[in-house]
């Protein structure tokens, strides 16, 4: 019987793009790494994502977006989390995000932003580090 409390991760897709293969790949990898993963499905609003994250009391949110609207939508998610008093949730972002936008996203509260080509092991290490750092 499991006696360790598993960490809960929400993988959310905001924006209008319907490409979910990457998100599902990450979901599987996280599950195999021992996380409890909740997936929102595609085309969700920031409101749906934040509400889900709070109700499910997740430790981490991984936002995926491939449509280019990351600056607005990621910012909206960050804002809503602050309104909810949920800034403690670790925020990761991923997708087709150009390097020049990374500083802005970091300033919004995104601990890491993963661009295409990032390996899964890099993502998992980053996750472990951030979680350990918060303890």
């Amino acid at each position: 019987m499991n006696t360790e409390t598993a960490k809960r991760v929400l993988i959310g897709k905001v924006g209008l793009d319907g490409h979910d293969r990457g998100a599902k790949f990450i979901v599987r990898a996280l599950r195999d790494a021992g996380y409890e993963v909740i997936y929102t499905g595609i085309r969700r609003t920031p409101e749906q994502i934040v509400r889900t994250a709070v109700d499910e009391d997740v430790d981490v949110i991984g936002l995926s977006l491939l449509s280019g609207a990351h600056n607005e939508l990621f910012a909206r998610v960050a804002d809503l989390l602050e309104e909810e008093g949920a800034e403690k949730i670790i925020l990761f972002g991923g997708g087709t995000i150009p390097q020049k936008d990374l500083p802005l996203l970091k300033s919004l509260g995104f601990r890491r932003v993963f661009t295409p080509g990032t390996s899964m092991s890099e993502i998992l290490s980053a996750l472990e580090e951030e979680i350990a750092g918060d303890k």
Binding site: M1, D32, D55
Partner: protein, 320 residues
């Protein structure tokens, strides 16, 4: 603790979510939170939704949520998915089908992993359902993992039990097998538009019409995604729901639930203590002595029992 319960009663979602995390810690036997709510809950019927994997449980709940909301009900949902026996991780994929209700303030959906518990539910499922009731949700729905023939825990926990089946369940022989079809108040044959659904419906009628026990089981045919037939299902559910609120039924379910809770919690506490003991050098030595033929199994168990009693005594002293 009182503060948390107060906030939950007043409708604070974050507190409710936090409380659910507290009760979901594996091996936890701290039930102070539920004890606080025990007297004021037990009045709202809990509806169970179970059935094989992929049959449409989550989709059905999504549709029912919409209809219940139209009737002004505030609905709580606990949805359970299996923890991987290998990685100890889980994919909690029920609520993905209920996302249109995500921002409705009168709906609360919580996903839970089984943490290795068998039977279709998790240790925390009933506790989370009670928290939802305490927060004012009525009814509270519990969705099990995709079950096989034998996982019928849901029947002991809920007031109304729905078993959902779909085409491909099996032939006439399969339907006679004991287990899943013995427990429901309502059998829902989903995906009724597919071929084979008709045949399954007939088999289920044959099976449930033949039981001499006199228990009447409703059988409803639906197409959950489109909502076809679900209004009829809801009518039947609401009838059962009204019956479940009579004093007689309420007491019966309450007693059954309390008995199960005591058994479960005692088991969990025992399991934890046993694992601690067997992880230690004394425990390991006992197992080795069994292997060497120095002790009989009965002897080993007797010594373990003594060791666990001693463990309890030390814990008691430590707490005193």
């Amino acid at each position: 603790m009182d503060d948390l319960v107060d906030k939950i009663r007043k409708g604070d979602r974050r507190s409710l979510a936090r409380a659910m995390s507290l009760v979901d810690q594996p091996g936890s036997t701290d039930r102070k939170l539920e004890d606080r709510l025990r007297q004021s809950t037990g009045k709202v019927p809990w509806w169970g939704v179970t059935g094989p994997p992929g049959v449409g449980k989550s989709t059905l709940i999504d549709t029912l949520l919409g209809m219940l909301r139209e009737r002004g009900r505030r609905v709580g949902v606990v949805a359970i998915d299996p923890t991987s026996p290998l990685s100890k991780g889980a994919f909690l994929g029920d609520r993905v089908r209920m996302m249109r209700h995500a921002v409705d303030k009168d709906v609360f959906i919580r996903s839970l992993a089984t943490h290795g518990r068998e039977g279709g539910l998790s240790d925390a499922a009933a506790h989370c359902a009670r928290l939802l009731e305490g927060a004012g949700y009525d009814p509270v729905l519990i969705e099990t993992v995709g079950v096989g023939q034998n996982e019928v825990d849901i029947a002991w926990v809920t007031d109304i039990c729905m078993v959902v089946l779909g085409p491909g369940y099996g032939d006439d022989i399969q339907v006679i097998k004991a287990g899943l079809l013995e427990i429901p108040d309502i059998v829902v044959v989903n995906k009724c538009d597919l071929p084979e659904a008709d045949r399954l419906l007939k088999e289920v009628h044959a099976e449930l019409g033949a039981t001499p026990s006199g228990r009447s089981v409703e059988i409803v045919s639906v197409e959950a995604k489109s909502g076809k037939g679900v209004d009829r299902l809801l009518e039947k559910l609401l009838e059962l729901d009204a019956d479940a609120r009579t004093e007689e039924q309420r007491q019966r379910h309450s007693h059954r639930r309390a008995l199960r809770e005591v058994k479960r919690s005692a088991m969990v506490a025992y399991e934890r203590a046993l694992e601690r003991e067997l992880a230690g050098s004394d425990g390991q030595e006992l197992v080795a002595r069994l292997e060497r033929g120095e002790l009989t199994l009965e002897s080993v168990l007797a010594r373990l029992s003594d060791a666990l009693t001693e463990q309890q005594r030390q814990v008691g002293e430590g707490a005193g």
